[in-house]
Amino acid sequence: MLKAVLVDHHDSFTFNIKAWLKPRFNISVVDCSEVDKINALDFDLVIFSPGPKTPSDYPLSKNFLKSLPANKPVLGICLGMQMMNEIENGTVQAYYPPVHGKTSALMSDNNKFNNIQVARYHSLKCDMTNAFDILASSETIPMIVRHKNKNWLGLQFHPESFLTEQPELFLQSVVELCNR
């Protein structure tokens, strides 16, 4: 079993993420106000959870993410991915109309991801810097991104939602991240 720590930004979906990763990960949940208590060396993976509001509303989480060594496997979901982008000087802006509790199909050169329906809960979107490769998108919004030099994976959609098809596929991607 791999060990992961999840930084919780009060999204109300934290335990769904735990359930999604359960087959391969033991997960400890830490409140975003207490990230200073996390010793990243204790974990194979650090997860930055989705959450309300904007990345700049969580300076502690952003600083913690920034402080992690480049080879540390990190998964950012929704707000978590937006934090990654801001740290690399990308911008995050309002997305209108917001998409909440609806699905759309991934567009990807990778057959594995192409056409899979994924759940979306976001009112912000990332303009990615070239620090990231965009592996899949939907309606021109980056949906799966990977950092070019750091071991970071960002998902704009919610892999833990019951609306997302084949969640085990994305679990596999997270496991691969830890094996790199």
Partner: protein, 577 residues
């Protein structure tokens, strides 16, 4: 002791008159209160009531008002009880209700729309995805009114499988007609069935099924409740929650909804389950914590028991509802509560419509009051399309199953009959029974151009939306009219002019005409609707631009006042001094 009734299984009800009521005090921790009950009364049948904020810490700076104020958690420990069928309940309480209360919203349409707008802005800024916004209605209980009689005899007509009647004191009771199951636990299996998505009155079921907005509304809550059930995963079963079905239709008589089912196996106790899942996702919002903060900001009252839970509990098994579609009586005061889920694509006016739709089942408690329409006949009915529309809406408002086409052909038939009989202008008064049979009364119409003298009267309650034979409110108001005045001019709670007892109000300011918007509380007026749609009105052969605008009473000295209706047209008006 006063009877207590609560849904149980197999369409039976728990009925008890021998119980002990244990309440959790404000300073006591709710979880430890429930743990103590768990320990001391494990095998006893219990009926539980948990308030919406039962697990919240009370805030010091709280100015919200209380309509209901009851202990945050209460448990009826039943010494004896019976499981009764609906018919057995009816035999036990044969008294049928003879009177019914008339409820008025405590929130004006304008404030409701403003709050929905502010919730939508927070959704756009990413604060939350969905919030359940609710409001209260109030009524004075009529003489000899009994919530119990209504509960026993009328509640069966609406699909409210999770209904309960709880006596809380000598003149205090909760009457809950919930169609929604919050948590059901049998052995290790725990299920929840959130309801979201509402069919508006007058719409087709496919509109609900095909709506991406209503779909998303329920999907978000399903994810939220999956999360809440996943917090109950335990070592013994190591289970994760699953969705058993999604978007089934539940047909209530006054509306339809969609609902889903989520399940997990858990060995957690009642108190732990409540502590992890309360308040329910479908009546708070998603994400839950931010939604709860916003609820405290925009709702001007404490929900108390409303949107909490009521249900039974015995051993490790229990079933709790979401305490919605509920009223509360204390002495002669009655309150009813209802609400809507607000998402990004909510249209404020549609949400207000939904709010009223969910109140409309209160109408099941009333006898049908015949709908009235008065028309001008002058070789045909004047403003016929608007009359048809209004009568249709008035009938739907009282849950008469009909459609626009049916009303249209009915009016055409009436018009044809009148053409053969009436050779001069007449006033025709139509009174419709529930089965759409009608009576028609015709009186010759004499031309009048006399200015109407009006007496200003402040009136804080809500006025009827549609014309029926029930003129009680108006008769009461007209008792205060002085003889020198022809009619009264109503000023609402906000100080705006509304209408007279038979006319809509129009006024000229500068070179334009205005008329108060319906949100100021007037009756649906054919004459007004016709001219608002047209955007103009003709006075003395001159046509003026017409738009909706409130008329504060303080502006009266600065405007030229007119009144009008579909029979008499537009007349000049003046105030009685």
């Amino acid at each position: 002791m006063q009877p207590l009734i609560c849904f149980h299984e197999d369409r039976k009800f728990i009925h008890s008159t021998d119980y002990q009521l244990i309440s959790c005090s404000d300073d006591q921790d709710t979880k430890s209160f429930l743990q103590a009950i768990e320990k001391n009364y494990a095998e006893k049948m219990k009926v539980v009531k948990l308030n919406f904020a039962a697990l919240e810490k009370p805030s010091v700076h709280d100015t919200r008002r209380f309509y209901a104020k009851t202990p945050k958690a209460q448990v009826f420990v039943l010494n004896t009880f019976a499981l009764l069928e609906q018919t057995q309940l009816e035999n036990l309480y044969p008294e049928k209700p003879t009177s019914r209360p008339t409820y008025y919203p405590t929130v004006q349409e304008s404030l409701f729309l403003e709050n929905v707008q502010s919730i939508k802005e927070d959704i756009c800024s990413g604060r939350f995805y969905q919030m359940n916004y609710t409001a209260a209605l109030e009524a004075k209980a009529p003489k000899h009114y009994s919530q119990l009689d209504g509960f026993v005899h009328i509640s069966k007509t609406v699909g409210s499988d999770y209904r309960a009647y709880l006596p809380l004191g000598p003149d205090e009771s909760i009457h809950c007609l919930s169609p929604e199951m919050f948590l059901y636990k049998k052995g290790s299996r725990l299920t929840t069935q959130p309801i979201k998505g509402t069919l508006l009155s007058g719409s087709n079921i496919s509109e609900l099924q095909n709506s991406s907005k209503e779909n998303a509304e329920l999907s978000m809550i399903v994810d939220l409740l999956r999360n809440d059930l996943n917090t109950l995963s335990c070592d013994k079963y190591n289970d994760s929650s699953r969705v058993n079905f999604h978007r089934k239709i539940i047909d209530l008589k006054y509306t339809s909804h969609t609902y889903s089912e989520i399940e997990i196996n858990t060995s957690k106790s009642f108190s732990e389950i409540i502590a992890n899942t309360f308040p329910g996702g479908s009546i708070s919002g998603c994400p839950k914590i931010e939604s709860l903060k916003k609820i405290a900001e925009v709702e001007n009252y404490h929900r108390d028991f409303y949107t909490g839970s009521i249900g039974w509990w015995q051993g490790e098994d229990f079933c709790l509802n979401v305490a919605i579609r509920s009223s509360y009586q204390k002495n002669n005061q009655l309150f009813y509560f209802t609400g809507c889920g607000i998402v990004f694509d909510s249209e404020p006016r549609k949400e207000w419509h939904e709010f009223l739709t969910k109140c409309s089942f209160l109408n099941l408690y009333l006898e049908y009051t015949s709908v009235v329409d008065t028309l001008e006949f002058n070789d045909g009915f004047t403003y016929l399309p608007e009359h048809i529309q209004r009568t249709y809406l008035a009938l739907r408002d009282q849950m008469v199953q009909t459609d626009l086409q049916q009303i249209q052909s009915l009016y055409q038939k009436i018009e044809a009959t009148k053409r053969t009989k009436l050779k001069t202008p007449h006033k025709v008064r139509l009174v419709f029974a529930k089965d759409l049979t009608y009576t028609a009364e015709s009186t010759p119409l004499a031309a009048t151009s006399q200015p109407v003298i009006l007496q200003l009267i402040p009136f804080k309650q809500f006025l009827p939306r549609y014309k029926t034979i029930d003129r009680n409110v108006w008769n009461l108001i007209l008792q205060n009219k002085k003889e020198a005045a022809h009619d009264v001019l109503i000023v609402n709670k906000q100080g705006n002019i509304v209408e007279t007892s038979i006319y809509s109000v129009f006024y000229k300011k500068g070179d334009e005409f205005f008329t108060p918007p319906s949100s100021d509380g007037g009756m649906y007026s054919v004459f007004q609707a016709h001219h608002i749609k047209k955007g103009s009105i003709t006075v003395d052969d001159r046509t003026y631009k017409l738009s909706e605008r409130s008329l504060p009473a303080s502006e009266l000295p600065t405007v030229e006042l007119y009144v009008g209706n579909s029979v008499r047209g537009l007349l000049k008006a003046s105030l009685l001094f």
